[in-house]
Structure formats: structure tokens, C-alpha cells
Amino acid sequence: MDNKIDLKELGYTDEELFSHIDHSNAESEKITAPRYSYWRSVFRVFFRNKVNIIVLTLLVLVIVFAYVYPSVIGYDATVDPYINLMNSQSKHLNPSKAMELFGRSIHWILGTGGSGQSTWDAMWYGSRISISLAFICAAINMTIGVLLGAVWGFSKRVDAIMMEVYNIIGNVPLILIISVMAMLFSPTFWTMVLAMTVIGWIGIAFFIRTQVVIIRDREYNLASKCLGTSTIKIAMKNILPFMTSVIVTLLATEIPSYISYEVFLSYIGMGMSEMSLGRLIYQSETAMVTPGWEIEFWSPVVIASIITVVLYVVGQNLGDASDPRTHME
């Protein structure tokens, strides 16, 4: 035949040419797609941004300092804040004076407070309490809020009841709940956790409910339903992946907000009895207006701000990275 081309003459190698492959039933069932691991992609996207690495390092540093440093120096909250109470020369010293008095050591790099205690040590111990409070409250509220919010969004009957509950509880001032708790029980760490979680979950649940309602009736979910997928499978496979980034983003605003709230409550005199950051700020408020003493006030304020900002940035960017739409190259 004239129009027959000899493939060999075109100079293609064998690999570039079609070759015959036998039909295989097992192979024809496979769908070929690039290998994709969700969480690996999340971290790939997250660490691609250099800012995130810096901020995450800072976060790890702060957490390590807050949890390890007080243990290493053996900080005892019942003894250490009052260790220099009787020494009238030790009070409200700036760093250089404190080092002059007590010798060079890490304890005095921020000077001393109103009862001669080390501002630096108190700051880290306070950070530990504040961070613990924030994480515990966030864990409780998020668990209850997300689970309940999902049910709330899915069931129309629950929705009708919960909306009423939400409208009512939403009007009770939160400081009222907290202060009544503080008056009923002694204002300890766990009372504070109870007070912050007793109605704290409802805002989260409402937020999740709204998100669930938005995607519940999307076409792909209706299609799934028509194809006979069970509700649980729809919830787990269709809706949960969509919600992951929403939940992480929410967590990013929740955790710092508990620290801020604790600081606020302590400042208005309704905080817990433990020496948290809020209480440190409350106690050193007078120092702020006294020239030369400002460092006592600003150190807990600054560390609280650093903790909240770092947590917020990490959370937000992790939330962005956990949105599968950002995983495409």
C-alpha cells in the first residue's frame, strides 16, 4: 500500500509508540489519579509559607517556656511570689537594680514586682495557667459545639428547639454566669473552666449549624442521598471534609479569645484565684501609671498579646491550608 508509513523510518523509539496490551478486568476497575494524601497536602501548603515556620517556632518556644521553665526552676506558686516580701528594698526594681541586688540570673531580667517577686518567673507561670485554661475550654466547647451543631444543622426538629434556646441564652450576659459561678464556688481554675463552658459552646454550635445548613442541601449531597448513601456516610465523607477548614479556622479565633476573656475578667475583678496572666495584669495595674514601674505591667500584657497573636496566626493559616481548594498547584 502507498500510504503505509514505516514507523521505523520516523525514528521513534518503541516506548513512544503504541503497543498492544491485553485486556485485564482488574485493571479496568482502577481510577488513575495523582496520589493525594489530605493531611500531607495540608502540611505541605502550610510549610510552604515561610512566615508560618517562624510563627510556629515562636509558638513552640512560648509553649515550651510556659510548661517547662516553671518546672525546671521548681516554681512554687504558694511560696515564690512572696519570697522577698519582707525585704523592703526588693520591691518594684528595674532589671539592672534587681540584678545588682540578687546577682545575675535569668530570674531578674524583667525586674521585680510589688512584693519583690520575679516578674519573669511569674509571667511564665501565668502563661502556663492561661494557656491551659484556653486549651481546656476550647477542647470542651469545640467538642460539644461541633457535635451538637452538626445534629442541630441536620435535624429540623432539633433546629426548632435549639433556635429558641439560642435566642434565650444569647441574652444572658456571660459575666453574669461567670460571676455567679465564682460566688457559688470558690473562684478556682476549674470553676473558671465550668463558667466559660457552661454556655460557651452555644455560639460555636450555632456557627457549625449554619455551616451545616448551607452545605446540607447542596446538589452533591442530594445526589448522594438519591443514590442511597446513609446519612452518617454523607456526614462523614461529604460534609466533614468540607468542615475541617471551618473548624480549624474557628479554633484559631476561639483559643486566643479565651485568653483575652480571662484577662478581661481578671481585670474587672472577677478572675480566678490562680496567678494567671489576667491576674498579673490586674495586680500590676497601678504600676502602669507609676514612672519606672511600667515593665511590671507591660510584661504580662505583651506576653499575653504574643501568645494570642501567634496562636491566631498559626490557626488561621492552618485553617487556610486545610481547605482542599488551596492544595491544587
Binding site: I168, V172, L176, M183, Y267, I268, F297, S305, V309, L311
Partner: protein, 525 residues
């Protein structure tokens, strides 16, 4: 529409009532009732039995229980004609101990005990407390009965008494006060009876002036109906919560006034506020000199604004600032997405969200005071306008961040929506798309929040007012909680709950006016 609003209002009212009942149950049944005396100097000055009776009296005043003393009971018997005054005088004096009672007294004590125990009261007798051979200070013997008022009954009476309407039978009918009635005059006697100023004066009512005019906003004032949110105990003793929030504060402002008796004096008394106080004239020569009747209880004219007033001035200016600055900046950020302005704005928003509000308010205070030399403390008596700046800025900056955030979000959502792409494909210019479509749609959710931010400008901001020592309403709730003033807690909660319900409804209505697609009149479309 009207039907919808009515339904929403009723719904709101129910939720407000439930909130108040929840709060009442929390503080009246769970909280230790002895705590209300924590800040009361009178309590610490009482001793022995007097202190006990004082606590019961106060608990009765503040609605915890019904309390009757033996003397009240005997006086009541005398008034109803059951016993004559000679018997009264003998039986009213209790023995130092129960076994020391005279025979007649013992009989009436027995009757008192039986009567009140059958009514569900607890009768308590306190024997005399001696110090050496004399009765100790406040140690006189006491006999009284008390009965707890259940929280729900209490809540009911609270709501019933919420609105007080004055009438001419307010003063007890036993008291002779001349002819009861309401008179109208064109010439208010407060101004000497010559100046033209219409007023309605009541006799037998609680307020003397039911309607009057003066030179302060809103020029015509009424005292017929007043809101009573409950009595304050330690924050502002004996004064209603609503008055605590709405009466002016500060130093007295004196003026030459003519009292009803014709006496003239340079005084801060506000004669228009006169209320009835039974028998007050008979006991005080000072009052006899000035007043012609028992309407002697007057408030003072003060130079400052009320708590709500200060909060509102600061709040409303900061709200206006927030909308005027926040919306355009948010808009500009959306239009220049991922450019420098957007990045700076995002950092600012992040700063406000993440940093504790206390920290940045103190930062504004430090920067404002040191760098700009602005006054950092609020002084009610100074006419200085500069002291308003820092509180206003501290309140406005976070709301600016919030508005920027949402404005940017809504704008970007609208800009990416399909109808905008279609409009662009259809050949509309960018300007047209912006003014006719994006801008209007993005503003709808923003509009929803406007009534709320205006109304809540009134309630003040807790931290800001505390940091700058503003005498506003924001501190009232925390102050009440710190001082265990339960009346104020309930009153303020009710006030907040009503405001939040009203602002939500107003927000929805405003949104429906702005966006013709939203309609509340038809149920399903």
C-alpha cells in the same frame, strides 16, 4: 408586616421574661443572701439582736421574704380595734426571756406565734443579750416572724411592678391631704407663677408634678408613667436602677429658686422632682420652712450627664466614626486585594482580633497620653472636650477593624459572584457594576448591624469606661456584681435583654427596607 413585627415583639418579650427569670433563679436561690450586706456600712455598725433584725428588714425591703415583728402585729390589732391602747402598751413589751413575759404578753405572744405559724411563717424569738449587768448594745429582746418569698412569685411581682403609673390614690387613703385631684396651670409655680409654662400638678399622687416644661431636652417632661427596674442596694442605695442610669451626676448646680412656701434660696433642689414623703414636714423644721405640703422629697440639679448619657455620647460618636472610616477602608481593601493597603489592613484586623482588648486599650492610653498629650482620665466636672477623645478612639478602633473585615469579605464575595461576571460580559462599565450592583448588595448585611450598634452605644463599654474612669453605664453590671447588688443585676440584665431584642428586630426591619427582595409579610414564596 405589622403582624410580623407584633409576632417578633411577643417572641422577644417571652425570651426577655425567661432570661430575667433564669437570672433571678441564679442569684436569688443559688447565691448566699448574706452576701448583700458585704458592702453595707449600716450592717457592720449594728450588733447583737439588732443586726439580726436589720438583716431581716433589709431582706424584706429587697424582696427575699415577708417579715413581721411582734410590735407590728400588736399595732395592727390596735388599729383594727381589737385591743385598746392601754392593753397595747402592756402587751407590747416583751420579757427579757420567754419565761419573764407577763401573763397578758404571754397570751398575745402565743396568739402571734399560732397565727403566723399557721400562715407558714417561721417565728423566731431572740432573748436579751447582756453585757455585765446591763443590756448589751443592740441586745434588746426581739420577736418576729418571717416567710420566704418563692422566686417565681417574686419574678411575677417584679414584672407587675415594672411600669409604675401614678394615680391620685397613691397616698394612703387614711392620710388627710386635702382634696385629691389633678390641676392644670398655665403658669408653673416653680417659676414664680408669672412665667408662661404649662404644668399639671397632682395631689394624692406620688409625684407632685405630673407634667411640666423646662429648658432641658426634651423640654416637656412627664412623671405619670415611670419604669422601675428594681431597687439598688449597695451601688446606689434605695434608688431605682433605671434612675441610677438616667439621673444626672456630678456637682450640684445652684440657682435661685422659690420654694412653695415662698422662701427663696440659692439651692440645687429640683422642685419638679418632688415626691410624696408621709409626715416629713411635721418632723423637720427645715422642710416646714420651705414646703407647703408633704411633697418634700426632691432630687438635686447636677451639672453632669447621666450614666447612660456619658456612655451614649462616647458610644454614638465612636459608632459614627467606625462607619465613616471602616466602610471606605474595607471597600478600598477589597478593590485592591492583595496589594499593600489590603495587607496592612489585614494586619490591623488581625491585631485587633487576636490581642486582648485590655492590652490594646492600655496601649492607646499610653500612646495617646504620652505622644499626643491627651487627657487620659475623665473628669465629670471639667468642661474640657479633649477628655472624650481617647475613650472614643479606644471604642472606635476595634469597631473599625470589625467593619473593615466584614465590608472586605462581602465586597469580595460580591465581586466574585456570577452576576457580576455576567454584567461585565454584557458590557457594563466597572463603575456601573460597582455603584449599581456590588455596592448595594454588599451593604445589605452591614445595614443589619446599624440599629444594634446605635442602641448598644448606650450601654457603654466595660473596659474602656473603667480604664478612662468614665462615669458611664458600662460599669454598672460589674460594679453590681462586685458589690453583690442583686437588684441592679436583675435590672441591668432586663435592660440589656430588651435592648438586644429590640435591636435585632430593628435590624431586620431596616434590612427589609433597604433590600426589596426581603419580605416578611408573605410566608413562603
Amino acid at each position: 408586616m405589622g403582624k410580623y413585627v407584633l409576632k417578633r415583639l411577643l417572641h422577644g418579650a417571652v425570651s426577655v421574661i425567661i432570661v430575667v427569670i433564669v437570672v433571678m433563679v441564679l442569684i436569688y436561690s443559688l447565691m448566699n443572701r448574706n452576701l448583700i450586706f458585704a458592702q453595707d456600712p449600716n450592717y457592720t455598725h449594728q450588733s447583737n439582736n439588732n443586726r439580726i433584725t436589720y438583716t431581716y428588714q433589709k431582706w424584706e425591703d429587697y424582696g427575699y421574704l415577708d417579715y413581721v415583728t411582734y410590735a407590728d402585729y400588736i399595732n395592727q390589732l390596735q388599729r383594727s380595734g381589737e385591743i385598746d391602747s392601754a392593753t397595747r402598751d402592756t402587751v407590747v413589751s416583751l420579757g427579757r426571756k420567754a419565761e419573764n413575759d407577763s401573763e397578758e404578753t404571754a397570751e398575745y405572744v402565743q396568739r402571734f406565734t399560732e397565727y403566723y405559724e399557721s400562715q407558714g411563717y417561721t417565728v423566731q424569738r431572740l432573748d436579751v443579750v447582756m453585757s455585765g449587768r446591763r443590756v448589751a448594745n443592740g441586745g434588746q429582746q426581739q420577736l418576729f416572724a418571717y416567710r420566704d418569698i418563692p422566686v417565681f412569685k417574686r419574678a411575677l411581682s417584679y414584672f407587675v411592678n415594672l411600669l409604675f403609673i401614678d394615680d391620685i390614690h397613691y397616698v394612703s387613703d387614711d392620710v388627710d391631704i386635702g382634696e385629691r385631684g389633678v390641676t392644670f396651670t398655665w403658669f408653673d409655680p416653680v417659676y414664680g407663677g408669672e412665667k408662661f409654662s404649662p404644668a399639671i400638678i397632682g395631689n394624692g399622687t406620688y409625684h407632685k408634678y405630673l407634667l411640666y416644661c423646662d429648658s432641658s431636652f426634651p423640654y416637656i417632661h412627664q412623671n405619670v408613667a415611670s419604669i422601675r427596674l428594681g431597687l439598688s442596694y449597695s451601688v446606689n442605695m434605695g434608688v431605682d436602677v433605671f434612675d441610677t442610669m438616667s439621673l444626672s451626676q456630678g456637682t450640684y448646680s445652684y440657682a435661685d429658686i422659690t420654694y412653695p412656701s415662698g422662701h427663696m434660696e440659692n439651692s440645687a433642689d429640683d422642685l419638679h422632682s418632688a415626691t410624696y414623703m408621709q409626715g416629713s414636714r411635721a418632723t423637720s423644721a427645715l422642710l416646714q420652712d420651705r414646703f407647703a405640703d408633704d411633697y418634700t422629697n426632691v432630687a438635686s440639679v447636677r451639672s453632669g450627664h447621666s450614666k447612660l448619657g456619658y456612655s451614649f455620647i462616647i458610644g454614638i460618636i465612636s459608632v459614627i466614626m467606625a462607619y465613616v472610616l471602616g466602610l471606605p477602608v474595607g471597600l478600598a481593601m477589597a478593590l485592591r486585594k492583595d496589594k499593600l493597603l489590603d495587607k496592612l489592613g489585614t494586619i490591623y484586623i488581625m491585631f485587633i482580633i487576636a490581642v486582648p482588648s485590655l492590652a490594646y486599650i492600655f496601649m492607646f492610653k499610653a500612646v495617646g497620653g504620652k505622644v499626643f498629650g491627651l487627657p487620659t482620665l475623665f473628669d465629670m466636672d471639667s468642661a474640657e472636650k479633649m477628655m472624650y477623645i481617647l475613650p472614643i478612639v479606644s471604642l472606635a478602633l476595634p469597631s473599625i477593624a470589625n467593619l473593615m473585615k466584614w465590608m472586605r469579605r462581602y465586597m469580595i464575595d460580591q465581586m466574585n459572584s456570577d452576576y457580576v461576571k455576567f454584567a461585565r460580559a454584557g458590557g457594563l462599565s466597572e463603575g456601573e457594576i460597582f455603584t449599581k450592583h456590588i455596592w448595594k448588595n454588599a451593604l445589605i448585611p452591614i445595614v443589619h448591624g446599624i440599629p444594634g450598634s446605635v442602641i448598644f452605644a448606650m450601654t457603654g463599654a466595660i473596659i474602656t469606661e473603667r480604664v478612662y474612669v468614665v462615669p458611664g453605664a458600662g460599669n454598672l453590671l460589674t460594679q453590681a456584681i462586685n458589690k453583690y447588688d442583686n437588684g441592679v443585676i436583675v435590672g441591668v440584665t432586663l435592660f440589656y435583654a430588651v435592648l438586644s431584642v429590640v435591636s435585632l428586630i430593628l435590624g431586620d426591619l431596616l434590612m427589609a427596607t433597604v433590600d426589596p427582595r426581603i419580605s416578611f409579610s408573605t410566608k413562603e414564596r
